[in-house]
Symmetry: C2
């Protein structure tokens, strides 16, 4: 939650002169996103979001993210829509950073999702997968199974300080997941990070999906279990089968999961838990002692991993 780059009114006014969204009336740096600097703009045409892309986002990936949002929005997915400048471009430069303007989406994120919210997310995720089917660009998943050993190596020296024996368990699990990882399931555009804070609701209605900066081309069912992990566990880390069933059934109504996909859910869920366990562990170990901001707890995902290791089949998630 930060604004990393300072933008002056003069520079922003000049930048906006390349767009057709009216005069700049106000702008505020917003405490949103951990990777980029975000500003809420109020212009003659309404509210917009300006993003300055900071170093952690690879500049060569930006055309993929922006084109994807445009593609999905054109197919009825309520996601931020990149605003084109007068030359038709979606990417500019401001304060020495790549910069883009997207439409502002109303909506609130839900801290304690119920089964109804989970159903809405399942439906929206399937809609995203279907809408992405004819998207032509590709982006490899930088945090796919191929990256996990590298993350583990980064964490190995001090990982057991977080929990005794953690590294040995991760190493064993990496071998197990690698052995049974499904490599021939349907692929396509996945969001890859559809956590509750990236899904907006107005009342009970899902009003928008945001933050496409992990989106990539990967196994569609993997995206489903990322959501299962993010939405269907209780604060005590126990799996809520009612919520899981709601999410999976609702997804399946819009895009049916094949028998192979259903059979692969447990190992995919173990992988999805491993991915967030590892990135959180690396972030956790990177924070100096005594820092004010604590990163997210990696052990939350260790406990989810434990649950998935105990799962025998998709039935344990609430669907046949």
């Amino acid at each position: 939650m930060a604004v990393y780059t300072d933008v002056t009114a003069d520079d922003l006014t000049e930048f906006l002169s390349r767009y057709e969204i009216g005069a700049l009336l106000a702008y505020k740096g917003i405490a949103e996103g951990v990777e980029n600097s975000n500003f809420l703009l109020h212009t003659g045409a309404g509210n917009f979001i300006l993003t300055l892309y900071e170093k952690r986002v690879a500049e060569q990936d930006l055309p993929f993210f922006l084109a994807l949002m445009e593609h999905l929005a054109a197919r009825g997915i309520t996601c931020p829509q990149p605003v084109k400048n007068r030359q038709g471009g979606m990417l500019g430069e401001l304060a020495g950073r790549p910069a883009a303007i997207v439409t502002f989406l109303d909506g609130l994120w839900i801290r304690r999702p119920n089964a109804g919210h989970c159903a809405a997310v399942g439906e929206a995720l399937a809609g995203l997968h279907l809408a992405g089917a004819d998207f032509k660009m590709r982006r490899e998943n930088a945090l796919s199974i191929e990256s996990w050993r590298g993350l583990y190596e980064q964490a190995r020296a001090r990982g057991d300080s977080v929990r005794p024996g953690l590294c040995a368990e991760i190493a064993k699990e990496l071998d197990a997941v690698d052995k049974s990882w499904p490599r021939d399931l349907p692929q396509g555009v996945i969001h890859a990070d559809l956590f509750p804070d990236n899904v907006f609701f107005l009342g009970d209605r899902l009003s928008g999906l945001i933050d496409f900066y992990f989106a990539c081309t990967d196994t569609l069912a993997y995206d489903v279990v990322v959501c299962l992990n993010a939405w269907c566990f209780e604060p005590d880390h126990s799996y809520n089968v009612t919520k899981g069933r709601a999410l999976l059934k609702s997804y399946g109504k819009a895009r049916a999961l094949s028998a192979a996909e259903r059979a692969a859910l447990p190992v995919l869920a173990r992988g999805a838990a491993m991915r967030f366990l590892l990135t959180r562990l690396v972030d956790w170990l990177a924070v100096p002692d005594g820092a004010l901001v604590k990163p997210k707890d990696p052990l939350e995902y260790f406990r989810k991993l434990r649950f998935h290791q105990s799962v025998k089949s998709a039935g344990d998630y609430g669907i046949e």
Copy 2:
């Protein structure tokens, strides 16, 4: 620049149910203000600012600040206007903090003010002083001359680490200012912190004044020299007499400075420089070595103080 307190959508929705500004559509924590947590709200009735008052603001002062903004807004000063709840109150509680909603003001702040901006600020400040004349509440200036020795005591042990000999110069200046400080000039409501980032412009037109959380009852002409210090020096800390003249003349057109006020400008300006030198020095020394965020440079105000020590009369500021 921070959001200190997390607010959930449920809590905020409940809070807003006490107001008549429509349903909550979106909210974003904004990186604005160093003392409080601020959120931009988008509701059925438009944009608003929600402020949660953090510990550094004394709760007993909040009714003064809110009533003052309401008083000034009612007299045509474009400042944030507190929104009343259904019970007619302006102050509520949210996430365990005192909280208020104010109207959203369009406008941009100017990094490099020109003489025209300075003239506009002078006029607006006089307008504020006139509009505050019949405001009934009083608030002592917690950073008045009476507070400066206490601040100096806080900084004395390590003050010379910022600049050799600084503490001796401050001690000498405190004696000098104390001796000639004018105590019988016209008093009233002052803003006390009208820096460029607290003044909004749309084009060349001044569109609003914000951040009344240092406002208090004190010498009106002191408020004028706070502005002179904040607006009429160049980045190299030299005084720009064209800007100073513009600010002072424009102020004087709306509210004439008496002969006594004009004669007191140099010592008032030394005091105003001392006040910001001391608070910045205390903040500077409070930051641990190696911290990412550097506070504002206290020596900027030491250089302004030096200039004012050299001033013989109001003529040196650009007016007779």
